[in-house]
Amino acid sequence: MDKKLVIAVKKAARALYKSLPILLGVILLISLLNILIPKNIYSSLFSHNIILDSTIGSVLGSILAGNPITSYVIGGEFLKQGVSLVAVTAFIVAWVTVGIVQLPAEITLLGKKFAVARNITAFVFAIIVALVTVAIMVVI
């Protein structure tokens, strides 16, 4: 049992060590983008077309990364500035489900085909989820 435990711990440590440079790189990249891009720039990108805005929301959410709380705060600000709920929803959904910044890590660890397919479908689904959610809200 002890020998098995040592092997299990070593295997876990080796796997995490292998992914360490990627994880550090992704976190460094997220930090840099968060500081370099001022938050108030984003709201100026939206128009008043529901499809176009949800796509822009999904694009912004895909590029940006970080704690979901930050996306709620930015999303809340967008709403105050008159950005539609569909666009804000696409933004907060894509924020967590699509990760351009962490894509190199996802490709290396989970495979190129998987990572690209997952991120592209998540991008499209952010728009669909936003449209469906807001449509249900309107019906209710």
Partner: protein, 168 residues
């Protein structure tokens, strides 16, 4: 991809990001310290999750055999597999990229790609964060969005699996 290539890619990527930092330091030196401070803050925040994932990986290595993984999360796992992916996705904590090493292990062990995709999608549904979402966007909105996202995760998982397994 060979193992050595995989680990080299990671170091090349990190080196690329460090070069980017050096460029930023030369062009906009004022951004360097806040970025590094931001980086340190994230590192401090994720240390507990990193330890949790390390323990989880060791426990899985110790008790879960490939055979069991395939049985519960493989091709024939059915509805139970989807429910498990959704629930574990919701209760998992920390940044998404911290889970890649563990998912890599599970993928190699025979876990369905669709379930891994569904797990990653459901990481968007975070119970402690729902309270905050209610504050910002209201209760009705939060409930509807959560349900729509859980349903979307299944469709997305199936589509990703189709794409990944389609012959080139």
């Amino acid at each position: 991809m060979k193992k050595s290539e995989q680990s080299d890619t990671g170091w090349y990527f990190l080196a690329g990001v460090i070069i980017l930092y050096i460029i930023v330091a030369l062009i906009k030196p004022a951004a360097l310290l806040p970025s590094l401070k931001f980086f340190l803050n994230i590192i401090i925040k994720i240390i507990p999750v990193f330890i949790l994932i390390f323990i989880l990986m060791a426990v899985i290595n110790l008790f879960v055999t490939t055979k069991k993984l395939v049985k519960y999360f493989g091709k024939k796992s059915g509805v139970k597999g989807w429910i498990a992916a959704i629930i574990t996705g919701i209760i998992s904590t920390g940044p998404i990229y911290l889970w890649y090493p563990l998912l890599n292990d599970l993928q190699k062990g025979g876990v369905r790609n669709g379930l891994i995709a569904a797990f990653l999608y459901n990481r968007a549904v975070k119970i402690p964060l729902l309270a905050l979402m209610i504050v910002y966007f209201g209760l009705t909105y939060t409930i509807i969005l959560t349900i729509v996202m859980i349903i979307a995760s299944i469709f997305q998982g199936l589509i990703v699996e189709e794409i990944v397994e389609a012959k080139a």
